[in-house]
């Protein structure tokens, strides 16, 4: 994959000496190895890729990875959720600086909540987490997105970052951070972010042939976030503590309903999170303990609703607390180790329209080991999940317990001596716990639900070749996933009575591949990367149903991405493209549910200026150059051609 590419860029980004780095510096080669040696598909994205793709939030960024499908509702601050290899967002955990984000209400984390400025690493892995000291909770799920903040890393002396992003669709983002070493290994810093704009853009409604251009309305947003982080770092010990606050007020553009542009809904969210992480190494041991607390308030308001009040005003309060530890011991060499850990997570939900106030206590423990035996590399772990739900309805308390064991096993094999080609494989059986909405949502919820089951099998090859100033890397993975006990809403008696049931079954098979080519000639460098995903995900729930054997909704048979960038003397010119095949919006594979494919092509020109410890990037991009009028989700049109200007300044010394 272009894993090593990312890893390389990453190390470039984190290297404090910003002199030009040869394509394959020694350290980079090691990084390359680690990535390619990974026995599960694992991707790391660095600042360079972020800049090249012009991504603003994590949702926009991870869509460039093979196998990822982002459900993007468009507009600024629009919801973005992930499906990786047809496993829904509820199968993906999001971990920020060791804190597993809670999503007890819907099960899905909105990836547009995480801006990229101030993150120094974004990683996605499937099967297992690559970082041994990741919280135990992240080992349970099928896929993990992990985010690492710049402010969690100790600076030499100080770090300053400033950032602004202006677009011609009236969406703006500004940010700044400052971090300072305060002596004796201690450091402290803060970051502020502002996202605002009316976000209006023109679109062509796909259900009106040759219709007039319409405006995407009710899209205004004002969001600000701040974060304070401090810590201590020496050779053996790392300690971090941080507080995060975000406040988000936005209009909800809703669906672009034909002939009816009225839209007045608004959404308000407020999140507060405090977290701490402590790591200590002693001899062959490494230990981490972590803890955190988060509250989340959400208010939805629709001023035009045809009920007695004439409006809808609902709010939800979620709280979660987590704590846990992770220990690892290495043996003959660093890659031979045993690790174990355990997390306790508490989550609660309280809603103004909810009759029930549910609480969930989760305990996730993991025990794993890995080693290298001759040409084989083995890794396995076992995750135990114990979940206890409690809910109170009209003073009647009821409870529910779930217990699940998730095994994971991976084997990688080097068939040749020169180690250029590697074969990797893994198996994992994971579970998706029913969310509070699935279990308790008024009328629809079903308290008898069981967790959703996912079996995942992956078989792939990775290949790396380096010669003087050329490097080529390829990865190809075939996979098979089987989803059963899938939680879906089905009508019971009539249109007014729906119920969540464990009846869905999906068969998923696919193929993801990635390629990277880098060529360096004197001061000129050419980077080409590409990814291709083929996915067949069919509904096998009921042999007698109309949709048996049909491709599941919003799952293209093909998605591809490519980027080409030429760099010389700090100037970079490049193009990136995302190509998506057609999809169906509902289960039935008929024309009425057909959503055409699209190409999203961006071109950009940037200049990086470096002096002393400073680094300034000025980057202008034309987004959606072909002015393709497309939708990722039916009735949610995406912006047409627009400009993006970003300026980033960084000082590290």
């Amino acid at each position: 994959m272009f894993l090593s590419f990312m890893a390389r860029g990453l190390s470039q980004d984190t290297t404090r000496h910003l002199s030009a780095i040869p394509v394959f510096a020694k350290g980079d080669t090691i990084a390359t190895w680690i990535q390619i040696r990974s026995s599960v598909p694992h991707f790391e994205i660095n600042q360079k890729q972020v800049d090249e793709w012009g991504a603003v939030d994590v949702g926009e960024l991870v869509k460039i990875l093979p196998g990822v499908q982002i459900r993007d509702y468009g507009g600024i601050g629009g919801v973005k959720t992930i499906a990786f290899r047809s496993l829904s967002a509820a199968h993906t955990s999001v971990v920020t600086d060791g804190f597993a984000m809670s999503a007890v209400r819907t099960g899905a984390v909105n990836l547009s909540d995480f801006e990229l400025f101030g993150l120094h690493k974004v990683a996605l892995s499937t099967g297992t987490v690559m970082d041994d000291l990741a919280p135990a909770a992240s080992f349970a799920q099928a896929n993990t997105i992990s985010l690492q903040s710049t402010l969690f890393r100790s600076p030499d002396k100080m770090r300053v970052g400033m950032y602004t992003n202006l677009t011609s669709i009236n969406a703006y983002e500004h940010g700044a951070y400052y971090q300072k070493s305060i002596g004796k290994g201690f450091f402290a810093g803060g970051q502020g972010m502002l996202r605002h704009g009316n976000g209006r853009y023109r679109f062509q409604h796909p259900d009106l042939n040759d219709g007039p251009e319409l405006w995407r309305e009710n899209t205004e947003m004002l969001s600000y976030r701040c974060r304070f982080a401090g810590g201590y770092s020496d050779k053996q010990t790392k300690w971090n503590i941080s507080a995060n606050y975000s406040n988000n007020q936005q209009e909800l553009p809703g669906a672009a309903v034909l002939y009816n542009s009225s839209n007045d809904q608004t959404l308000e969210t407020e999140t507060l999170r405090i977290q701490s992480l402590y790591t200590r190494s002693f001899k062959q041991w490494k230990a981490t303990i972590h803890g955190g607390y988060q509250t989340n308030y959400m208010r939805y308001f629709d001023p035009q609703y045809q009920n007695l009040l004439g409006y809808i005003d609902i709010d939800f309060n979620q709280a979660s607390a987590t704590g846990g530890f992770m220990m690892a011991r290495s043996f003959r060499f660093p890659e031979e180790k045993v690790y174990f850990g355990s997390d306790i997570i508490y989550g609660s939900l309280d809603g103004s329209t909810q009759l029930i106030r549910p609480e969930r206590m989760t305990n996730i423990s993991v025990l794993g080991a890995k080693t290298v035996l001759g040409r084989f590399r083995l890794e396995g772990n076992l995750t135990a999940q114990l979940i206890k739900d409690q809910s109170i309805l009209n003073t009647v308390q009821s409870g529910r317990k779930f217990q699940r064991l998730s095994p994971f096993l991976a084997i990688a094999y080097l068939p040749f001596k020169e180690k250029a080609l590697r074969i990797r494989s893994f198996y994992k059986h994971s579970f998706r716990m029913p969310s509070f909405n699935d279990l308790y949502y008024n009328f629809i919820g079903n308290t008898n639900l069981e967790p959703e089951d996912a079996h995942m099998v992956n078989l792939g090859i990775t290949y790396g070749y380096q010669f003087k100033n050329v490097s080529i890397e390829l990865t190809a993975d075939g996979y098979y996933n089987h989803l059963s006990n899938k939680i879906i809403a089905i009508p019971t008696k009539d249109l007014f009575n729906w119920s969540m049931q464990n009846i869905g079954e999906t068969f998923i098979q696919g193929f993801d591949m990635g390629g990277l080519f880098t060529y360096q000639l004197k001061k000129c460098r050419l980077d080409v990367n590409t990814g291709h995903s083929f996915n067949q995900s069919v509904d096998i729930t009921d042999r007698n149903s109309l949709t048996y054997g049909h491709q599941i909704p919003y799952t293209p048979f093909y998605v591809g991405q490519a980027g080409i960038h030429l760099t010389r003397k700090g100037y970079q010119i490049g193009a990136t493209a995302l190509v998506s095949g057609f999809r169906y919006t509902l289960n039935e594979n008929i024309y009425a549910n057909y959503l055409p494919g699209f190409v999203d092509l961006n071109i950009g020109l940037s200049k990086t200026i470096r002096w002393k410890a400073s680094n300034l990037l000025i980057d202008l991009k034309v987004m959606n150059l072909l002015a393709n009028n497309y939708q990722v989700i039916r009735s949610f049109p995406m912006p047409g051609r627009h400009l993006q200007l970003r300026i980033k300044y960084r000082l590290e010394k």
Partner: protein, 349 residues
């Protein structure tokens, strides 16, 4: 490496799965059944299908007009004006009423239903000579002059009216209060069709919806209750005295009139039963067995051919299947509608 790319290209071909076939239009619209498909909320996929007895045609409005019908179409009626045949469609979430030339399926007029910028959400339509009454979920009834296709009157009724029935010069409107959860409305408003005034409003039972007027001065009304502890019931109303004469708790979800008989679908017994509206007597024998249906979504009767049409909405997320039965309950035909077929217009209507 070479083999690998061969494998890749095979996979690419296999994976670039065929695009679904675009719908085609029939050569005529005179002989056949129209189905109106509600679609799903906020998906802009309301549509009209046509079945000529042999072949089913989907999305005919879109094919003939180059634009979608809109979002959530609830009801349609056929009418004749000056010797020309038309269809009138209420498109709820798009807040439009569409008038269509029935012979060509081309739109004749698209009438926006807004109160300022606020959508009125037209739900049901009843045609009375050269005018149409449209009940709107914002608590009003609009009157359309069908000569010039314009909205001429707005009459305020109760909350979320969901059905209408004409009885001489009075229009009965059931105010469901469907959006007032948990306390639904329970009133029926009566409009004088000459003066457009609400002459009466009386209480029936929680969540009143579908109505049928028998030939004997009574109106049969389904009260849907609260979908929880207050069950569905069939009410008989003395229209002249505005009083509820009888309440029978019965899980009725759809009903249709066949002469003096009222045929209905019993949710618990999963079949069609009937009662006589003249004698008020129940017939305990099952007329049509619909227990094989996945999602029953409406019972319709074509008086010209004496056939019943029952809709299976297949879980509300797939195309509906329409099953045709004769008066003795024998299945004689099946055809496909669009997503959530909510109403049918027959050849001689």
């Amino acid at each position: 490496m070479k083999n690998f790319f061969v494998f890749l290209s095979i996979l690419a071909i296999y994976s670039c799965n065929k695009k679904p076939i675009e719908p085609i239009t029939p050569s005529q619209y005179e002989s056949g059944v129209f189905s109106l498909n509600e679609g799903l909320f906020e998906q802009n996929n309301a549509s009209i299908s046509f079945y000529d007895g042999v072949e089913g045609y989907q999305q005919i409005f879109r094919s003939e007009n180059g634009r979608g019908l809109g979002d959530t179409a609830n009801d349609f009626e056929a009418y004749n004006l000056n010797g020309k045949e038309y269809l009138i469609v209420t498109v709820d979430n798009s807040s439009q009423v569409e008038i269509i030339d029935r012979e060509t399926m081309k739109s004749v007029a698209q009438i926006p239903f807004f109160n300022g910028s606020e959508p009125r959400s037209p739900r049901k339509v009843v045609v009375d000579g050269p005018r149409a009454f449209v009940c709107n979920f914002d608590g009003t009834v609009g009157v359309i002059d069908l000569f010039n296709n314009s909205l001429v009157e707005i009459i305020t009724v109760g909350s979320n009216p969901d059905a209408m029935v004409l009885l001489d010069d009075e229009l009965f409107v059931s105010n469901s209060g469907g959006l007032l959860y948990p306390i639904y409305d329970s009133t029926v408003s009566v409009i004088n069709t000459a003066t457009y005034e609400v002459v009466s409003s009386f209480t029936t039972r929680m969540n009143p919806s579908e109505m049928i007027a028998d030939g004997y001065g009574d109106i049969y009304l389904i009260s849907r209750g609260n979908y929880a502890d207050i069950p569905t019931a069939l009410l008989r109303i003395d229209a002249a005295n505005r009083t509820v004469v009888s309440i029978t708790e019965r899980p009725i979800s759809s009903m249709t009139q066949v002469g003096d008989w009222l045929y209905y679908f019993d949710q618990d017994l999963q079949g069609v039963y009937r009662l006589n509206m003249m004698t008020e007597l129940d017939d305990p024998t099952q007329i049509i067995d619909l227990s094989e249906f996945e999602t029953f979504f409406g019972l319709h009767y074509d008086s010209a051919s004496s056939l019943f049409y029952a809709v299976d909405a297949n879980g509300y997320v797939n195309s509906s299947t329409i099953h045709v039965y004769n008066l003795s309950g024998e299945g004689i035909d099946t055809f496909q509608g669009g997503l959530n077929t909510t109403d049918l217009v027959f050849e001689n209507e």
